[in-house]
Symmetry: C2
DNA sequence: AGGCGGTTGTGAATTATTTCACTATTATAA
DNA sequence: TTATAATAGTGAAATAATTCACAACCGCCT
């Protein structure tokens, strides 16, 4: 087992996890690296190498036990632990994220939602009470929320992010096209929808 | 000028483009690779190397002309050409994409939107006429739409994607967590919101 | 028990990407 | 005009990620 685990390996691990769930649903008990890799359109060597960073999960001659491998990957990714998240900005994108079923199954619990519109503050939205964005700091602190999804308009992004920092948020998933400047301690992932589209079109 | 351009270079090019627009707004006329790279938190060498795949755009001793560089990158990325896109599935995510201003400035023109809900079909939504998803094939063909944003529920994803293939779509930006299986000719980019979040939390 | 076909785990080789470090060029100041 | 400081462009070196290829092993069959 090596020391440095490639970032891409972590990304692929989730892909593996997803497909293992699907295989389980189908009743598949066992799968070889070759056929699993074929499905995922990666090389079998890559799949095995990725897993090898974390230990030995397969049986030579027989392949991998789907259920056991799913559990191992869940453990690696920390899906067994719950993480509290909040959604800040309840435009269409924020609402889309709120309604997204995928998060819960990965151990993310939406613990608070925020907006600045008087029409939303205090109301229940999809079962969640909407807080005033001004209350971000106390609410995040009291609930020990670790992760924030930032879906406010671009103009407000930096200011809101700064407040998240003060509230003690550990990681931000930033959906705005703004380059946030914050302390290095906060982990930021940028999801740039336009960039995805542009890359796609370049390779057309 | 080399033959093979790294995929990552293309991705960064859009990042450069975005920030150049911002610099222009600020009235910055000129910038050195060092300070530009500092802002973007990459190395200056990487910035220069990326640009070097496409030609020479800077002036030694003086740096880059912001306006000229923006135009050069626009040309490289094909932002000067318009691409027709359609949005299929008008849930919150589809609506969020429809309302997203960033696309237009990158040369993407939303040419049609589709849903299967009788409440939406035929109505105008944010100024766009909503078509029945059953009309996908003729509408895409008639309008020569090249790119589709797929934001339908998971269950419907594969079936709708298959229809996109028949309609002659060249590229799909897939927002569902489904692994689409289509002809290799169609370029597919997967945007997996849960995966982004999971990667973030692993590195916490 | 022994052999065989299939499959993992992994060091080594390969390929891709990033950084280094230096040259050539330009702007500017004396 | 010449010297000096700043900065782009780039081949070479370093690093990172992927693939290759094969030994070791497992399960099953006879």
């Amino acid at each position: 087992m090596k020391k440095i685990i490639p970032r891409k390996t972590i990304q692929r691990l989730l892909l593996y996890y997803r497909y293992l769930l699907f295989l389980l649903q189908q009743g598949t008990k066992n799968i070889s690296s070759t056929s699993f890799a074929d499905i995922l359109e990666i090389s079998a060597a890559q799949l095995r190498k990725d897993l090898s960073y974390f230990g030995k999960f397969g049986t030579q001659g027989a392949g991998y036990d789907v259920l056991a491998l799913r559990d191992e990957i869940a453990k690696i990714l920390g899906i067994d632990k719950e993480r509290k998240v909040c959604i800040v900005g309840l435009g269409n994108l924020g609402l889309a994220l709120l309604g997204y079923k995928g998060f819960a199954s990965l151990g993310f619990v939406v613990t608070a939602i925020f907006d600045n519109s008087p029409q939303k503050i205090g109301r229940k939205i999809k079962g969640f009470a909407c807080y005033d964005i001004k209350e971000l700091i106390p609410v995040v602190k009291n609930n020990k929320i670790e992760i924030a999804l930032l879906t406010v308009p671009s103009e407000a992004a930096q200011e809101v992010a700064r407040r998240m920092e003060d509230a003690g948020i550990k990681a931000i998933l930033n959906f705005t096209p703004v380059k946030l400047s914050l302390s290095k301690k906060i982990k930021i992932n940028n999801v740039d929808l336009a960039a995805e589209l542009k890359t796609l079109s370049y390779f057309l």
